[in-house]
């Protein structure tokens, strides 16, 4: 697309009020091709040429050569750089020359596996290569399963199925495992935190089984940009990985804009709706025939923006109305496939998606990508940005911040965004709580040798002994044998999400299922009287059957949607232990984190006006877990107050910092833990830190033992942060709260008080009292700094003023 032409046009329009606050150009890069030392088999060359591939990029050559030599690789080149070919080529080559070889492809979702199967199918067929390939997951019919076990040369599945369906039944797969040459693990950046630690253990189990059947497959992994791809892949797969990052794919110029919605009131506090800005931009891009994707944080927002966009298109060019679709989790698989196909084939001009399309589903490259609201991590933002750019064609990327403190911080500090490295992916396969389940599963699959157990982590031998004492393992001639009951892999779920899936049924349409929603979101989005949005249409939720897990809806034409309000409470169920940590009390024990959706607001489309409230009568959702809490002495709070600051804000700031710091000490992802400030179970406000996992995984327990180091690190983080009054890297939490909610209509909030947090930390750590900067805030308001720049030379200023007077005089 012609970016400058588009911008020229848009900025000349009435609706333009200086929204572009920052421009960042990503320069052109030419294609770099390479040559394989040994040519590919003729039939493979033929199918590749048929697909339009005649030359390989340098990274593809590097990956293919390494994989041919049996080196394990992780590929981290940009989106749409042809990562898939890096492993498909050596796999297909092997299939062509070795009639028995097998390959296993693992994808984080079923949809991705199906998508990639379609890619592979392009290479097979009458005038292509001949091989069987298939997806093996929960949806695979039993009759097909047996066939796939025997015949599939390439099996595409997900780690969950591998863990619970394939590994425990490995003898049925003996033929497959004994001939396994390649294991492809795609999108490994998604295997992080608790989930990643589980997947790493499943991969360990996979390799034991391969060894048992006498194979040693080569691993090919791919990842979106993260800070530590080699280390992460190495830990995940238990192999030393060669990192391939020299990207040979061509890239057109990309223009990255920060587009801040204009202020609309005198106090400059209110801004025009970011959702409407997004819709306006998508509308204009689609009218210009620019295929566009907009990424949003919440499902409801994808629907709202689609609606606005369709309305906008309807007014100008009605036939384009239905070329814009929402895309999100909760749609039926068929519906999603259909949208992907239409997008790929160019039938759709615009798609408003949640991060569901962030993963590598092949919808072809788009020309423009709009990021509506900071997605919570730098890595994620870049991945969304990467969806724009067709080969060497110019592309447009626009970030539209919400009017929330965090997003506005980014709008004011683009250098923060462009200067920051993507996040590390952290896993800890040796976490004893996670390991326990996998040692049981591994012993069930094959007896565990002493050496193997040693390699599983420092606590693994102790855990094996514990299981022996508990009569789940027997130790015979140097190996542990499973003797427990049942199927231990069934006791472990790799993912930390509620397995409940609610079905959404349209009663007026013969009870057709129109979509699904996970248990955690159901209460917030399909409570009775909610307006559920589906393909930008409004559905009224008549009833939510919590037992049967069904939401009954009917299509109703209304001009509003609903946003529920959920309150989170933490309470202490049992205190297990406590100590005096310096002048504070530090305790650890069982806590319950209760989410209660108690009311909802009706929001008018467009104006965002609240047009009414309603009550929700839903049971609370409780996470029973373990946590620690720190109760600062009353004196600290008084100290903060004396400075004219709010102690609660300082504590909140400190709790946000802890969520950043603690993962480094306890080896988890920030999303694996929760922090909050609450005074329900303690005499004064306490900072809580809990494991976001039923029963706990030892994160907060470890943090309890390391409190001194953690608090010192928190202080270090805040003081070394260059920001003045708090930013997403310190006291402002980068994790967007309530991903179900539309930030456009939420409360504004503020970045918690950095200075107050420092006053508190200094006192808690027994340091010199901290003197905060004078409070610059008016009550309840956040001051926005004026942009800085060079002062005008005096003469120029005079000239400008004169010119201005003349202009005014004319009008």
């Amino acid at each position: 697309m012609d970016v400058s032409k588009f911008l020229k046009k848009v900025t000349a329009e009435d609706f333009y009020h200086g929204q572009v606050v920052h421009k960042h150009a990503i320069p052109v890069r030419g294609a770099r091709y390479g040559e394989l030392t040994e040519p590919l088999p003729a039939e493979l060359v033929r199918v590749l040429e048929r697909d339009g591939i005649e030359k390989l990029y340098v990274h593809q050559v590097e990956a293919v050569s390494a994989l041919r030599k049996g080196r394990d690789v992780v590929i981290v080149t940009s989106t749409a750089s042809g990562k898939t070919l890096c492993y498909n080529i050596p796999v297909l080559e092997r299939l062509a020359v070795d009639g028995e070889s097998r390959a296993l492809y693992l994808y984080p979702t079923k949809a991705l596996a199906q998508d990639q199967l379609r890619v592979l199918k392009r290479y097979s067929g009458p005038d292509g290569l001949s091989f069987e390939a298939g997806t093996y997951d929960g949806d695979t019919p039993t009759s097909l399963r047996r066939k796939l076990r025997g015949e599939a040369r390439i099996l595409l599945t997900n780690p969950d199925m591998l863990h619970s369906g394939i590994l425990p039944n490995h003898s049925k797969w003996a033929g497959f495992f004994s001939r396994l040459n390649f294991v492809v693990v795609d999108e490994i950046h998604t295997y992080r935190g608790i989930f990643g630690s589980h997947v790493a253990n499943a991969m360990m189990r996979l390799q034991r089984i391969c060894e048992h059947y006498g194979s040693r497959p080569v691993f090919a992994a791919s990842s979106a940009t993260i800070a530590n791809p080699g280390e992460h892949a190495g830990k995940l797969l238990g192999r030393k990985m060669k990192v391939i990052k020299r990207d040979g794919a061509p890239r057109g110029r990309k223009q990255f804009l920060f587009w801040n919605p204009p202020t609309i009131d005198v106090g400059d506090m209110e801004r025009r709706s970011s959702n409407i800005e997004a819709a306006d931009l998508v509308t204009r891009l689609v009218l210009d025939d620019v295929q566009t994707i907009a990424f949003v944080r919440a499902r409801v927002v994808s629907e709202v923006i689609t609606r606005y966009t369709r309305d906008g298109l309807g007014e100008r060019r009605a036939r384009l109305r239905d070329t814009v679709y929402p895309y999100r989790g909760g749609y039926l698989p068929g519906e999603r496939r259909e949208i992907e196909r239409k997008l790929f084939e160019g039938e759709l001009k615009g798609v408003i998606s949640t991060n569901a399309l962030e993963l590598g589903i092949d919808v072809g490259a788009l020309q423009a990508s709009i990021i509506v609201g900071y997605p919570g991590s730098i890595a994620s933002a870049w991945q969304q940005a990467g969806r724009a750019g067709r080969g060497s064609e110019e592309a447009l990327i626009i970030f539209i911040p919400y009017n929330t403190p965090l997003d506005q911080y980014l709008a004011r500090n683009p250098d923060y965004f462009f200067g920051r490295n993507p996040e590390n992916a952290i896993i800890d396969p040796g976490n004893p709580h996670i390991l326990l389940g996998h040692i049981r599963a591994a012993a069930f699959e094959l007896p565990l040798g002493a050496k193997e157990v040693e390699a599983m982590g420092e606590y693994a031998p102790a855990i094996a002994e514990l299981l022996e004492e508990e009569r789940e393992l027997n130790y015979v001639k140097g190996r542990w044998y499973w003797r427990g009951r049942g199927y231990p892999s069934a006791d472990v779920s790799l993912r930390n999400i509620s397995p409940d899936i609610y079905t959404i049924i349209d009663e007026k349409e013969d009870n057709t299922v129109i979509g699904t929603i996970d248990g955690a979101s159901a209460f917030q989005q399909v409570h009775p009287q909610a307006i559920y949005l589906h393909e930008a249409e409004t559905y009224f939720v008549r009833d939510l059957d919590v037992d049967k897990k069904i939401a009954f809806v009917e299509k109703t034409n209304v001009d509003y949607y609903t946003q529920s309000i959920t309150e989170t409470q933490v309470k202490v169920d049992r205190e297990e232990k406590s100590i005096d940590w310096r002048i504070s009390r530090l305790a650890f024990g069982d806590v319950s984190v209760t989410d209660l959706t108690f009311m909802f607001r009706k929001i008018k489309f467009g104006s965002r006006d609240s047009i009414g409230y309603g009550k929700c009568d839903l049971p609370p959702q409780v996470l029973e877990t373990q946590g620690l809490w720190i109760v600062p002495p009353a004196g600290v709070l008084a100290l903060v107050r004396n400075w004219g600051r709010v102690p609660g804000e300082g504590l909140l700031g400190l709790s946000s910092v802890l969520r950043e710091v603690v993962p480094l000490f306890v080896m988890c992802e920030p999303l694996d833990i929760g922090t909050t400030v609450n005074s329900r179970s303690t005499w004064g406000p306490a900072i809580y830190l809990y494991d976001k996992y039923p029963g706990g995984l030892g994160f907060s327990l470890k943090a309890y033992d390391l409190v001194e180091e953690i608090m010192q690190a928190a202080l270090e983080l805040i003081t070394s942060c260059a920001c003045k009054r708090g930013c997403p890297s310190c006291v402002g939490s980068p994790i967007p709260p309530f991903s179900q909610l539309d930030a456009d209509v939420g409360g504004r909030g503020m970045i918690p008080d950095k200075e107050a947090a420092l006053v508190i930390l200094h006192h808690l750590l027994g340091m010199e009292p901290y003197t905060p900067l004078p409070s610059e805030r008016k009550s309840g308001e956040e001051e926005i700094e004026r942009p800085k720049g060079k002062p005008l030379p005096a003469e120029l200023e005079v000239k400008l003023r004169e010119g201005l007077r003349k202009k005014r005089g004319r009008s």
Binding site: P432, L436, R440, K477, G484
Partner: protein
């Protein structure tokens, strides 16, 4: 720190076990001696029932002077001893592998073999029903030399994907009915059992099982694959469960072997080790080496084999 961890892991484990129990059958309450405690000598008149035959039948198979005791099986209550003391088999060693084999003439473990075995042979050579209709699957038995018919029943540590430890075979040999049991004394001996089994089975044309179609045969083949071995099965397989289902229909509450024993063969096992307890008994034997309870399992396996033979006799002589 470590203790704390262990404590927490134990509670994790409890949670996992609870979860498992939700899915699978609940762990039965065990009232016996604690697993590590000193083994209680068997109290007189408790637990074991009639060890010699295991039947409580009108046929009067009990040893005189011992009252039938309808007490449930209690682990660890049987007189302790080694395998050699209690089941008197022998170690078979070949190629660096070994296992335990108990090969006995059936008469030694089942006195009424003297009556039933000739009846069985008679039924085979001169069947009352020619093996038509529902009995058609049995026809192959009447067309095969009795020496080439082998009964098979396995004991395992679970329902699937776990080791088996006992393969019970029964076949006529040298004019006598013999029971040939191949046992893995620990998990490492399973492969030797399977290898040996492969050799033994080559002698037979027909395999007779009870539910072997869905359980014993696939289980064995799974373990063969697991152990990287090969095994060719006899040409024919008769699964008595399918025959029983068709011939007996709803005349019995279900078609489990022990139900058929009770309602069709008119006898009841006493002091037998229930199937659900067998994996636990075996694992304890592996851990401690005390063969008290496993001897009961070996006997249980024999009873299964013997009942199968009797069912065939009944079916073929038209009394089933």
């Amino acid at each position: 720190m470590i203790d704390r961890r262990r404590h927490n892991l134990r509670s994790d484990l409890e949670a996992l076990k609870k979860k498992a129990e939700g899915v699978f059958e609940p762990r039965k309450h065990r009232s016996g001696a604690p697993p590590d405690g000193p083994r209680q000598p068997a109290a007189p008149g408790t637990g074991v029932g009639d060890e010699a035959t295991g039947w409580d039948t009108p046929a009067g198979m009990k040893k005189p002077g011992r009252a039938p005791l309808h007490q449930p099986f209690v682990p660890g209550r049987r007189p302790p001893g080694t395998l050699d003391d209690l089941v008197t088999g022998e170690e078979v060693a070949a190629g660096g592998e070994s296992f335990y084999r108990v090969l006995k003439e059936a008469e030694l473990v089942w006195e009424r073999t003297a009556t039933f075995f000739p009846e069985y042979l008679e039924a085979l050579s001169n069947p009352f029903t020619p093996g038509e209709g529902v009995l058609r699957p049995l026809r192959i038995l009447t067309e095969t030399v009795p020496e080439e018919i082998c009964y098979l029943d396995i004991e395992t540590t679970g329902l699937r994907m776990c080791p088996l430890f006992l393969v019970g075979l029964m076949y006529p040999s040298g004019g006598k009915l013999v029971i040939d049991q191949l046992m893995a004394r620990d998990y490492t001996e399973e492969a030797a059992v399977l290898r040996f089994l492969g050799g033994v089975l080559t002698r037979f044309t027909v395999l007779v099982t009870f539910n072997g179609l869905t359980f014993d045969i696939p289980f064995i083949m799974d373990r063969i694959k697991y152990s990287g071995l090969e095994l060719s099965l006899p040409a024919h397989h008769v699964d008595l469960l399918t025959v029983a289902r068709r011939t007996i229909g709803d005349r019995t509450p279900n078609h489990r072997l022990q139900t058929l024993e009770r309602f069709v063969l008119n006898r009841k096992r006493i002091g037998d080790v229930p199937g659900s307890e067998i994996p636990g008994v075996y694992h304890e034997f592996v851990r401690t080496g005390d063969a008290g309870d496993i001897a009961g399992v070996i006997h249980h396996n024999r009873l299964d084999l013997v009942s199968m033979l009797q069912l065939v006799t009944l079916f073929l002589s038209g009394r089933g």
